[in-house]
Amino acid sequence: MSLFRRILPLITLFCAVSCMEYGPAQEETFATDLSHRGLFIICEGNYMYGNASLSYYDPETKEIQNEIFARSNAFPIGDVAQSMTINNGLCWTVVNNSGVIFALDPVTFKEKRRITGFTSPRYIHFTGSGKAYVTQIWDPRIYIVDPDKCTVTGYIETGMDFETGSTEMMVEKDGYVYVNCWSYQNRILKIDTATDRIINELVVGIQPSAIIKDGYGKLWAITDGGYEGSPYGHERATLVKIDADNFVIEKTFTFDYGSTPRGLTASGDGKTIYWINDGVYSMDAASETLPAEPIIEPLGTIFYALIVDPTNGDIYVSDAVDYTSNGVMRRYSAAGNLIDTFRVGINPGNFCWREAQ
């Protein structure tokens, strides 16, 4: 008996230092000011860490709120948050490696709807006829979803296979949706939203990573040119101007070998095109040559993504810092003067404006 008395304190000690703090997160209440515009910053997090997050910035008050999804809903948004689109009063947030799209209330950030059943979703685009398209990587099909019922209703077959199939960003013009095919691909698809079928495709160069529409109705795509040693080929990155009506390349601007342009975006009136190539560059959409100098000089850090305020031309550049710590947002005036700097989540890679009401 005395032996048990001797070892009892030891057992008690083990028990005392054995309780782990693990469990549900605290739920917080948000009520953002509807009279202010706001910027959602979609932070990818690290692949396979599940530490993606959303941040929300009020340009008027310069107030930043981080991890708003997790704080509002008391669970994390998932692995690799990719993009957000606001439609019908909801923020549709695509979480790539969690295979889910969450629809959030833009004021409280509470989850309102959820769509699952995807392989690896990237972007969602609403066609205006009660349906939306969702692009994928590792899956050649573009998913057609019913956002009201939150169901997958069909697929647009692209002719690619599952190993190399990749569809990415989408823009719509005159009833047609244009999709860039990025990973180990080289083309833009043209989809008739009336029939949900691909009616044409245009080869633009190796790995078109982004597509936007300018104020003149032209499409712009950036190709990253692949990588050295790729069996798919390696070439200079390009900025491609596309005549959407005739679906032909109007002009190709070629970057220096080794450049990795990214973050393609346009001003509010669509007359100026912006991108990152170490520094931040801008170009008149009617220009015939690439600009020689950046409007924002590189800082020796990692400019990761870019958005322009459509109302005043302020430029927001995200900095991935070292990819494994919280990112930094830098807000510049249209002339390139620094206005504000604030911390956000890990790898801020995409943005979405919420307009004032």
Partner: protein
């Protein structure tokens, strides 16, 4: 079928039961108590271990239960950090605040680190396939291999002294539809020893857990949400099927020569569990890895009056695959990722120790490895529509030469100095010096110190992986030293204590880190300068309380700051001066066992402090914290000794306090679970 199997097992045990008798867990002679201290007494120390910081794990610990991997063993019996990605998933080991690739691992003298990744998956090494294991900390690892900036783990099988036939078998079953089996057949005589081992594990590994990383909603009759809850989820895609076969043959001559051959084959198919934040339906996906590995080592050694010579030749073949497939919705699985790698390594080594004087040893060692690696990560569609595999096909020759001298000029003092030189491909590392000293302060207390340079050259994936491999990488270089006190004492053959505490300090330059690129792939770069320092301590004791009672205890503690001192211009200023990601500042473990006659209760405990998941060590985050980890397991054993042999029953309770926890972010671990084992060792001599 399962019922039949169990019935048969119990019937077999029943045959032993009538003759059951008490059987102690320990030998009745005093050596069982004193054996843990004898090797630490400097007067009797082997010259080869002068100044070495070495931790030995005995076979009783290794063979506690058949379900344990070496990852489990090291978690509870050392202060190294074992990073486990889930039950039955990848488990890596790192010493002293370094990375998993800074741990060199040898099996019967042959390095088994993957030449592609540089690290070793300890979850794939069953502890029953290891007869002795040791850890060489820091500079001490240079005695066996270069590149162990943190240390080295030595795994060995050993010939038994069997006369005639020996057979033992273990059968186990447990939670999550887990079945384990192990069979060992030995035969031996004066010259020959053979051993055949088979181990098999099958587990659905479909444990359930409360998923705090997801929420489900409840709705009222009008379809309006009126509540929410955290669902009970199942570990998806986590199934395990492992088979290990090992054959050993040893032959001993009258002249002191010993020849040996060990061959170990592994076949494994394991699921790669989905993250707890993954909303994809596990049933629609196959996310699995497969491995077929053969490791074979043939060796010769000879012990003369003034020399010990040995030579080894080995072959390592590994075929690994990773498949990520999904159901298209019509029952047809389509492949999205299909990675394949094929590794063949030919190994040769020679080792010689010469004792020209009683207190002097000269040591030479040469090892060579020729790797042939083919790796394809996925298929791409070429411009012409044909499919092309993306990967690399490379060969690399690596060799290492070691020359050293160990001298004990007085009874109290031991000195050692050595040089190692390594070649990889057509590149030579700079010369690697290592010095060791130990000094007997008193009969119970020894001071040991060492200092060295060390280099770890890039792995084949670091250099050639497509896309992202960086052929311009420099080797990581380390400068380290350590010093410590080692205490050892036996009290009246009833109580023995063994304890040590060491300070270590190392600087590692050009630390290789894989970082993302803007083109969607990752690439390695030399980016960090790391200062890793701290304290390692351990204690071990055996107390023979009375004739029928025995208590054994061991504990380990490490404080391992591993600080990023990268160049702020290259790296994030917020990360400078911060602890490295996934390196705990504190780790500790303890095992206490109490035996009474034929009963034995073993209590295992381990702790890791918070592991940061961001380089700026953000603790304000709600989503990225891996909080301190405490784990408690127990094993209760009962032995029945009979004239027909020995039967033992073991009940293991893992996660005793039913904790909900993660070891790695968003990778759930199982709550309390049970395993039951029956071990049968027939006695053919009666």
């Amino acid at each position: 079928m399962k019922r039949t199997l169990l019935t048969s097992l119990f019937a077999l045990c029943g045959a032993f039961a009538p003759l059951a008798a008490q059987e102690h867990w320990w030998n009745d002679d005093a050596s069982y108590v004193t054996q843990i201290t004898s090797s630490a007494i400097v007067a009797e120390r082997p010259l080869g271990e002068i100044g070495q910081q070495k931790s030995v794990i005995d076979s009783a610990t290794l063979h506690l239960t058949v379900a344990q991997s070496m990852a489990d063993i090291l978690t509870y019996n050392s202060s190294v950090f074992v990073k486990q990605y889930g039950r039955g998933s990848l488990a890596t080991v790192s010493f002293r605040g370094t990375a998993a690739s800074h741990t060199q691992v040898t099996w019967n003298g042959m390095k088994i680190n993957s030449p592609m990744l540089g690290m070793t998956d300890f979850s794939m090494i069953p502890s029953y396939f290891t007869d002795s294991a040791a850890m060489l900390h820091g500079s001490s690892s240079l005695a066996v291999a270069g590149g162990g900036l943190g240390g080295a783990v030595l795994l060995n099988t050993e010939p038994t002294s069997t006369r005639g036939w020996d057979l033992s078998g273990v059968f186990g079953f447990g939670s999550f539809n887990t079945y384990d089996g192990f069979l060992k057949l030995n035969y031996g005589n004066e010259r020959w020893q053979t051993s055949t081992r088979i181990a098999a594990t099958e587990s659905r590994n479909d444990f359930t857990y409360r998923n705090y990383k997801k929420k489900e909603y409840t709705y009222d009759a009008a379809g309006i949400p009126n509540g929410s809850y955290y669902p009970i989820d199942t570990n998806r895609c986590g199934g395990i099927t492992d088979l290990h076969l090992m054959q050993e043959v040893y032959y001993k001559t009258d002249g002191g020569d010993r020849l040996g051959l060990s061959a170990w084959f592994t076949h494994s198919v394991r699921g790669v569990p989905l993250l707890s934040v993954d909303y994809r339906a596990g049933a629609s996906y196959n996310n699995s890895q497969s491995e077929n590995t053969l490791r074979a080592v043939a060796g010769w050694d000879r012990t003369g009056n003034k020399y010990i010579l040995s030579a080894k030749a080995g072959w390592l073949h590994t075929k690994q695959g990773y498949d990520f497939e999904r159901d298209k919705g019509n029952g047809t699985m389509v492949s999205m990722v299909q990675s394949r790698s094929n590794i063949n390594t030919i190994h040769g080594s020679m080792d010689g120790k010469w004792f020209p004087a009683p207190k002097l040893m000269l040591h030479g060692q040469m090892a060579a490895y020729q790797h042939f690696v083919t790796s394809t990560d996925r298929n791409a569609m070429a411009m012409n529509g044909s499919k092309i595999a993306i990967g690399y096909d490379e060969a690399r020759f690596e060799s290492s030469l070691y020359l050293g001298a160990k001298w004990s000029p007085t009874r109290r003092l031991g000195l050692s100095a050595a040089l190692r030189e390594e070649l990889y491909g057509d590149k030579l590392t700079p010369l690697i010096p290592v010095v060791n000293i130990d000094y007997l302060i008193c009969d119970e207390l020894t001071f040991k110190a060492s200092g060295s340079r060390n280099y770890r050259y890039p792995t084949l994936n670091d250099l050639y992986f497509l896309p992202g491999g960086n052929p311009d990488l420099k080797p990581e270089s380390g400068l380290s030293y350590d010093a410590g006190l080692f205490f050892s004492k036996t009290f009246r053959d009833r109580l023995s204590l063994n304890a040590s505490a060491s300070w270590f300090d190392s600087y590692i330059d050009n630390w290789i880190v894989w970082i993302p690129t803007f083109k969607g792939y990752w690439t390695p770069r030399n980016v960090l300068r790391v200062h890793a320092y701290g304290i390692e301590s351990k204690a071990q004791g055996k107390w023979r309380i009375s004739r029928d009672w025995m208590c054994e205890a061991s504990g380990n503690f490490a404080w391992t700051p591993s600080i990023n001192h990268g160049d702020p211009a290259e790296w994030a200023p917020e990360a400078i001066g911060k602890q490295l990601v996934y390196v705990p500042l504190f780790s500790s473990s303890a095992v206490v066992s109490l035996a009474w006659t034929s009963w034995k209760l073993t209590y295992k405990w381990c702790h890791y402090s918070e592991r940061f998941t961001t380089s700026d060590n953000d603790i304000t985050t709600k989503i990225g914290r891996v909080l301190p980890y405490y784990m408690n397991d127990i094993v209760l054993e009962k032995r029945l000794g009979t004239k027909a042999g020995l039967v033992s029953f073991k009940l293991a309770v893992n996660n005793l306090f039913n904790e909900e926890y993660e070891s790695v972010l968003n990778r759930p671990m199982p709550r309390r679970n049970f395993e039951f084992f029956i071990e049968i060792t027939p006695d053919f001599k009666h």
